[in-house]
């Protein structure tokens, strides 16, 4: 299996590693870089637990090879808070009980973050559409919609 040098900047930190060509971005981030905040919930790109923002675009990082991310700037859940200060969206998730087990939460937060950057005042319908790629098995989504709505301008 061929290896390739890959350089990525994640949450402002640059990482340089040799990576097997077939390694998925999510496995690279979790296993090689020890950034375990992003999760894996399926094998098929359905669940969104691995969602990250790559060069400004929301992606499911299980649907992308690590080598494809060479040179990219990546944002993950670990970068949302400012030091110890949670972002308004993170606080809102807690206030609205928009998480239970917390396994889908990192991906859900990244999808909602991407939405609010592009559309700071989404309607409920737009929120639902933006989150349809993220599966949550605990909450039924209702409180997640409320949490996102509460930080929309």
């Amino acid at each position: 299996m061929s290896s390739h040098p890959v350089t990525v900047t994640i949450n402002g930190v640059e990482y340089e590693r040799e990576v097997e060509a077939r390694k998925l971005l999510i496995h690279f981030v979790r296993d090689d870089l020890d950034l375990t905040g992003s999760h894996i919930g399926c094998d098929t790109g359905n669940c969104g637990a691995c969602s990250m923002i790559v060069d400004g675009t929301l992606v499911k990082s299980c649907m992308m090879l690590a080598v494809q991310a060479d040179g990219a700037t990546i944002e993950t859940v670990e970068g949302l808070a400012d030091g110890d200060q949670l972002s308004p969206l993170q606080r809102s998730f807690s206030e609205h009980h928009a998480l239970q087990c917390g396994y889908c939460t990192p991906g859900m937060l990244m999808s909602a973050t991407a939405l609010l950057r592009e559309n700071p005042s989404p309607s409920e319908d737009e929120i639902r559409k933006a989150l349809q790629g993220n599966i949550c098995r605990c909450t039924g989504y209702w409180n997640i919609f409320e949490a996102v709505k509460a930080v929309a301008k």
């Binding site: 496995h27 993170q90 998480l99 917390g102 396994y103 939460t105 949550c136 098995r137």
Partner: protein, 814 residues
């Protein structure tokens, strides 16, 4: 009792922390990706396990060759069924014969019995390499006919899955209470329902199963970092099989990504992990893939209700029923046949009928093994009773609301003893129904039906109810097998005051999102007179902590009773000790004159005379010279909560099987396009009563989550198999769980009927979502005018319901 539509309220500091929506302690780490889930755990030199799985539903294994796999560079080793059979004994079986004779191991031995059954385990230095190597394992099979329909499993012409059992019958039992003959003699009508079917699905937690296991050779002990949600049960299964004491199996968890019962029976895979960690002398990681989970883990019980007869009066009074429940356990009994008795916790549902007979038969089929799934075994039975209510109402042309109200167990009858000796602790079902009907807009339904009809649509409304029986009396297992030495229940907590006054709580539970750290802190803070912020509740579970017992875990709707009662007991012990110490230090003031407040023990009449907790902790732990010899104070208190249970009467199958009965009444409105069968749930209401609510927001979150799972199950989710036993829904493409766009508008409501049987007035809750399945089935029946006979109603079945209805009901004069 309070009645109010649920509203989010901002936490207002009041006299008690209990009852407030305080911020969840878990959220800070979980919103930052700082949780520690099992696959986040890493160890030096760790190998990754990949299971080679059976492609056949039923086959003899004729040969296994791991040679090529083991030669691959980077492969650490393998494990086969043959090795497992020599190193371990078959798992202990709960059943009486014939199910008792099953031989179930960590890997298939000699034969495979479902698609996806683990046959060989391969360990390599990366996940990818382990997968590659598993492709090199050569397994030869001799395929056999597969049984995928429980209704033919007992036919003589069909092959037998487990030769040691001699039959595909696993367990059977007859339950009969009251006087059936008298009930049918008294009846005006007998409603006969030939066949009802509850389908196979589960809750598909987003995190699959997994473990990191390391073996300490010097002391012969394994440490299992795992998301198994019932370590007590796993230990009991694993220890005897592995020929080791339970102390050699240390279970550790921090965060678990959803469980819903589906993570109770991972013990076979955990045994394989343990054997490999020892054999290869290195830590191993097993992280289940989504497809593996769907193929092999914890399907919910599929159940048929055959030849049902219901005795009713013309006015809708329900007298009794008889039915034959045929339960499909799948290929192995991993927690089964307990499903054969768990349903009996809610035998009559919410209704007063006293004459009931149920013949329970459980069979093995070539499908994944069944195990608990949210609402375990009761959901199937309550779906049946709710179907009966609505079918009776339809056939007798009565109002389903009136039939329910006529037959409900009444508020004034509580506590109510059911025909089989269970005691419904409290509740007011009629009141709950009124709240649900109000929330759904019952009075406008006729108008809405007419309006939908003008658009060519069919609109219908339905009600669904569940009882979320919580805190098991494990004595019920003896109705399955009188030899079993289980009864009662227990849970443990420890609370201590450390050197610098830290209040440290350890739990025996394995939470998966239920917020135990938060609610435990609320209970502690109220007793110790401090803030919830001052209470540190350790995250997760570690069987090295002295805070677990045989039934510790998180399952079966019980934390608010067992877990919090243990916390309450331990904290009260600590409070008493703090006062005893305070009495000495403050100069012999009587303990009755002391109070705990603001993080101190102080004299009630002179709050200036106060000893801070920090001083208490320091004195006992680090500065104790000169204390009176007879001062028995450790400030480290362990309490075991043991609910008040008797061993049930096994002969009569009679006794109190659970301590509390939370109740749910849901209502749904559906709108169907009769041309295609496509339908939408256009309005939905969920009303819950779980007694005293410690944290209303968490309670409502459980209600919402359970509702969403029910709506997914009734419309979309099914583990469908083809005739050869291939699973057709092995991933989230084919197994459609609800997405953000699928969610209907939701109204929630509640009443609070405190349980008279529990220390905090609470009832366990969280599993009541089955009501959503019942409500949608009833609404589809109302909209189409045809009897709904299956719990799974995808659009294709609803099209059939409209265009080719099945005739499953007959009404005769008694």
């Amino acid at each position: 009792m309070t009645i109010a539509p649920e509203k989010h309220e901002v936490a207002v500091p009041t006299k008690t922390w209990q009852g407030q929506n305080v911020p969840r302690k878990e959220d800070k780490r979980l919103t930052q990706g700082q949780g520690v889930f099992v696959d986040d755990v890493k160890r030096h030199g760790m190998g990754y396990i990949h299971f080679v799985r059976s492609p056949y539903a039923h086959a003899h294994i004729t040969s296994i060759d791991v040679g090529a796999a083991e030669k691959l560079k980077g492969v650490y080793g393998t494990l086969t069924g043959e090795e497992v059979a020599s190193l371990t004994d078959p798992f202990f079986q709960l059943s009486t014969p014939p199910g008792a004779h099953i031989k179930d191991y960590a890997l298939a031995v000699g034969k495979v019995r479902y698609v996806g059954e683990p046959v060989v385990a391969v360990v390599a230095e990366t996940r990818e390499l382990a997968r590659d190597a598993s492709e090199l394992v050569e397994v030869e099979y001799e395929p056999l006919e597969a049984i995928v329909d429980a209704r033919v499993a007992l036919d003589d012409a069909k092959p037998v899955l487990h030769e040691d059992s001699g039959s595909n019958l696993m367990w059977e039992g007859v339950y009969e209470w009251g006087d059936l003959d008298a009930a049918f003699a008294e009846a005006d009508k007998v409603v006969k329902i030939s066949e009802l079917h509850f389908h196979r699905f589960n809750s598909t937690p987003l995190e699959c199963d997994g473990a990191v296991v390391e073996y300490n050779r010097g002391v012969g002990q394994w440490t299992l970092y795992t998301n198994n949600q019932f370590p007590g049960f796993a230990q009991i299964m694993m220890g005897p099989a592995m020929r080791c004491g339970l102390d050699k199996l240390r279970f550790v968890t921090q965060d678990i990504g959803g469980g819903f019962g589906n993570k109770i029976t991972s013990h076979p895979q955990l045994v394989a992990c343990c054997l490999l960690a020892r054999k290869l002398n290195r830590p191993v990681n097993w992280t289940e893939w989504r497809t593996d989970f769907h193929l092999s883990m914890s399907h919910g019980n599929e159940r048929w209700f055959l030849d049902t007869e219901v005795a009713v009066k013309n006015d809708g009074t329900l007298l009794g029923f008889r039915t034959k429940a045929l339960d499909d356990a799948g290929a192995y009994l991993r927690y089964e046949p307990l499903g054969g008795v768990i349903w009996a916790q809610v035998t009559p549902g919410m209704y007063k009928w006293r004459h009931i007979r149920l013949d329970f038969t459980q069979v093995a089929t070539n499908k994944a093994p069944c195990s608990p799934n949210r609402g375990y075994s009761r959901m199937q039975h309550l779906w049946f009773t709710e179907r009966v209510i609505d079918i009776v109402a339809k056939e007798l042309e009565l109002d389903p609301v009136e039939v329910r109200k006529k037959n409900y167990v009444k508020h004034e009858d509580m506590p109510y003893e059911t025909p089989n000796g269970c005691v419904y602790d409290s509740g007011d079902y009629a009141k709950m129904l009124d709240v649900a009907l109000d929330l759904i807009g019952w009075n406008d339904v006729a108008k809405r039906k007419a309006e939908a009809g003008e658009r060519g649509k069919l609109l219908g409304v339905g009600i669904g109810s569940t009882l979320d029986s919580g805190t098991n009396n494990f004595g019920q297992s003896r109705m399955i097998n009188p030899e079993l030495q289980f009864s009662g229940n227990n849970e443990v907590a420890t609370v201590k005051l450390d050197i610098f006054g830290e209040i440290v709580v350890t739990l025996g539970t394995t939470p998966q999102g239920q917020g135990h750290e938060t609610t435990a802190a609320q209970v502690v803070a109220d007793i110790l007179g401090c803030s919830v912020d001052d209470v540190h509740v350790r995250a997760g579970h570690d069987s090295y902590w002295n805070s677990h017992a045989g039934f510790s875990g998180t399952y079966a709707s019980q934390f608010a009773v067992t877990g919090l009662s243990a916390v309450k007991g331990a904290t009260e012990m600590l409070a008493e000790q703090i006062k005893r110490l305070g009495s000495v230090i403050l100069g012999g003031v009587p303990e009755e004159a002391l109070e705990l407040a603001e993080g101190t023990v102080r004299i009630k009449d002179n709050p200036e005379a106060a000893l801070p907790f920090m001083a208490c902790g320091a004195i006992i732990n680090a500065n104790n010279a000169g204390l009176p010899e007879d001062l028995d104070v450790t400030l480290n208190c362990r309490y075991v909560y043991r609910p008040p249970f008797e061993v049930p009467d096994v002969e009569r199958k009679f006794g109190n099987l659970t301590l509390t009965y939370a109740a749910q009444i849901h209502a749904a409105i559906v709108e169907i396009d009769p041309e295609t069968g496509y339908y939408e749930i256009v309005d939905y209401a969920a009303v819950d009563d779980c007694g005293v609510r410690i944290h209303p927001q968490i309670v409502e979150g459980q209600v919402m989550g359970a509702t969403a799972q029910a709506l997914g199950a009734v419309v979309h989710e099914a583990f469908e198999y083809d005739e050869e036993g291939q699973l057709l829904t092995p991933n989230f493409y084919d197994y459609h769980v609800p997405h953000a766009l699928d969610m209907p508008p939701l109204e929630t409501g509640y009443i609070e009927s405190a349980s008279p049987f529990t220390p905090l007035g609470t009832k366990g809750m969280g599993e009541g979502g089955g009501a959503g399945i019942h409500a949608v089935c009833a609404a589809l029946q109302d909209a189409t005018g045809h009897v709904v006979y299956d719990s799974w109603n995808p659009y294709k079945r609803v099209w059939e319901l409209v265009n080719k209805p099945r005739d499953v009901v007959e009404v005769t004069a008694a």
